[in-house]
Amino acid sequence: MSLLEIQGLGISFGGLKAVQDVSFKVEPGEIVSVIGPNGAGKTTLFNMISGVYQPGAGRVVLDGQDVTGMEPFRLAARGMSRTFQNLQIFQNMTVLENAASGFHLRERGPVLADLLNLPGARRRARAAEAGARALLARVGLERAADRQAGNLSYGSLKRLEIARALALQPKVLLLDEPAAGCNAVETEEIDRLIAEVAASGTAILLVEHDMKMVMRISNHIVVLDHGEKIAEGAPLEVSRNPAVIAAYLGTEEATHADG
């Protein structure tokens, strides 16, 4: 049994089949990438796996349990966390608080204790902050801890979002274009971070446009086109697959025809 199993997942929007019958597996410590031309349904697939959309067909099995369409906060408790293509940072909070919020499941307690500032509440808050500082150090943001998150550079925010997701100690981490909009140096930093996280046993499911990065760090690649899985395998295998090459070259023509 795999850690994460995607079984025949599909969804339609008003008759349009956005994703159809996609299946694959993710093992602990593995980096699996989902690639495909624009509009192939990668982010839609991600949103189904992470509970943002209700799938029309198929199942998502996490650690042997059916978690299909489960709300994101319940998935978080079961060990799945994610980041977003268009950053979702708590701009109104400091960098440290952003990271500390990732410890919510472990630091939450009775509201009354929080209101009265009982020793238990103080202990929980302190533990979360200590954990958050350690994570910030890991992603190289320890010196920015007390700054407003909104003032950070784009690349730093990308790393902050990953740090926050890591705070949950997830079994599976979903990263939606973690390097999008980052420069070469930032991409390399994120690259290294992802490899480290995977080495520590967390399974990583990645959607990424940066092909060089995907080829470099993935163990396994799933290729989508028009909402369907057209290929799957090791990076080299996939890059030589004629269907994949056709899909990538074919898109340009299709785009021209549409436009």
Partner: protein
Amino acid sequence: MSQKHATLLVLAALIALSPLFFPSGYYYRIGALMFVNALAVTGIVILTGYAGQISLGHAGFAGIGGYACALAPVHWCLPPALAVVLGAAISAVLAWLVGRPILRLKGYYLGVASLGFGILVAMVLNNERWLTKGPDGIEVPDLGLRGLLKDVGLDLSNGEFWYGLTGIALLVGAWLALNLYHSPTGRALRALHGSEVAAGTVGIDVARVKLQAFVISAVYASVAGSLLALQNKFITPDVAGFMHSIEMVTMAVLGGVGSVPGAVIGAGILTLLPQVLTVFADYEQVILGLVMMLVMIFLPQGLVPSVLRKLRGKDE
């Protein structure tokens, strides 16, 4: 941490030292009114400032708190102090019942639902004359605490007594709200304010913590309504009226909705201003509206956060 204590210390000092400058006993009453308003607005800060949710019916809870003190001692022989607790409990339960289905939805549904709730409470208080005596209002029994204090040798005037009691209530309310801000629950509230989607991915049950904030803020409004009724020894359905709900939100926004000091200052200004503006009689409302507009145009974050930012410079 230290900022919290500094805020409380400054507030305590202001409450304790202001009477030295009072020209007449009348100012104790205005002070007490300010503190009661500030207490209710502190609840709004938790709901709107921390959690980003809007209520347009919080006066409904103030009405419940107020009428609990008018009715429970008479009908159930409950001591007025316990009537405050009863009112708070009823408000909490009602907030839970109203908020539970609504807060599962994203968006501004709470604003509309709470608006309806507030209007409903005001209508009941106006129309159920057999119980509430209708729009003319009803007498509220004496709290009895001032007599007790007198027996132990602390003889305070009515004004001084209520100034002190509401001041202490505000300090406690501010302390609780500031505790909450830095606590795990407060962090979760501010997180969902920043991004509900991201709050979900870190395991925050968004509907649940929103509901907690709504219930807590309802209790604040209820206790404020109780204190107002007990202080005046009289209450009318106006306390639950729409205008009162709007007034609470306006005070919070004026001071700066994210901060507890903002709540106090917003409530202070909007309580004082009408007293000062009575000189201008007919133009009172006009000036009030103008002040609000100018603040929102030039200091959109509210007074306290904007001024703090100016003082700190742009380094933040």
